[in-house]
Symmetry: C2
Subunit: 187 residues, 2 copies
Amino acid sequence: MKYCSCCGSPVSLKIPAGDNRERHVCDHCGQIHYQNPRIISGCLPVHGDKVLLCRRAIEPRYGYWTLPAGYMENGETTEEAALRETREEARAEVVLRQLYTLTSIIHVNQVQLIYLADLPEPRFGSSEETLETRLFSEEEIPWDRLAFTTIRNALRFYFADRAGKEPEFPLRHIALSPEQDDLVLIR
Amino acid sequence: MKYCSCCGSPVSLKIPAGDNRERHVCDHCGQIHYQNPRIISGCLPVHGDKVLLCRRAIEPRYGYWTLPAGYMENGETTEEAALRETREEARAEVVLRQLYTLTSIIHVNQVQLIYLADLPEPRFGSSEETLETRLFSEEEIPWDRLAFTTIRNALRFYFADRAGKEPEFPLRHIALSPEQDDLVLIR
């Protein structure tokens, strides 16, 4: 950020009165421009013993597999965002079961929410953002072709939790730092 | 938003190629400025059979009671944000137990996370943002002097869940729209 979005004048980094960290402050009108983490909301769609993955048609991670998820928009709930992204990216209609992973991705200022969801009918498709969409059994998961650490974590937790005698799916709180994010291609 | 924060030129509302909703787009450099919901993270601190509330020293809702909570900053996790706000607003050190409420406040583009937390020692205080901080038993809660619907909901759920024979505190997913928000001062 170089210019004030209210008046177009240059901004400077300053600690505003009563604050304790640097913000972009307009040199002319005084407006303080806060920058905060953004929310990514998505689904882990389950159909029988399989899960639905999408192969990305966009950068970053073009060609890698992911769960349907994307930025939450103004004017919607976190659940609505998850359903909308699943519709847009996987052309699938799911029923949300519960919030399953909440990941603070510290170095990119994102919080990712993944909902466990049921895909009642095996209907899905590709889209502008997705080269192909497919159901995978646990054995078929392309662990070395997953797009993001957060996706690998959600899938890993899911198969582990599902393997329990009386399966339970507790909410998983995860903090990702850059070091951990290097694991993106390792199971 | 009237001006581009990258180059200072005027922006216009347009639907970018491949998108399906209006964004602020720079007329000069083409930068697309996305606007997304912000996260508020905070705590419901419990000490014995009492909960800790703060009386606001700032607008909005000056003088009304609230739970310690505030905007999540870049570079921290949702849990760190909750602990920091509790430290800043209530001068209290708590131990997080679990995520308890997740509220999408649709009309103001916020997602509020409230963590159930233990306050091991009854040490707390006022701050620049807080006129006074105090422990309340259920009977003492100032229901008609609570600052926000989200706070009232968290407290209401907490006392209801606590009253169970074997208390359980499931994550509460809440969607708040303007109509429901009118209930702010009604129990």
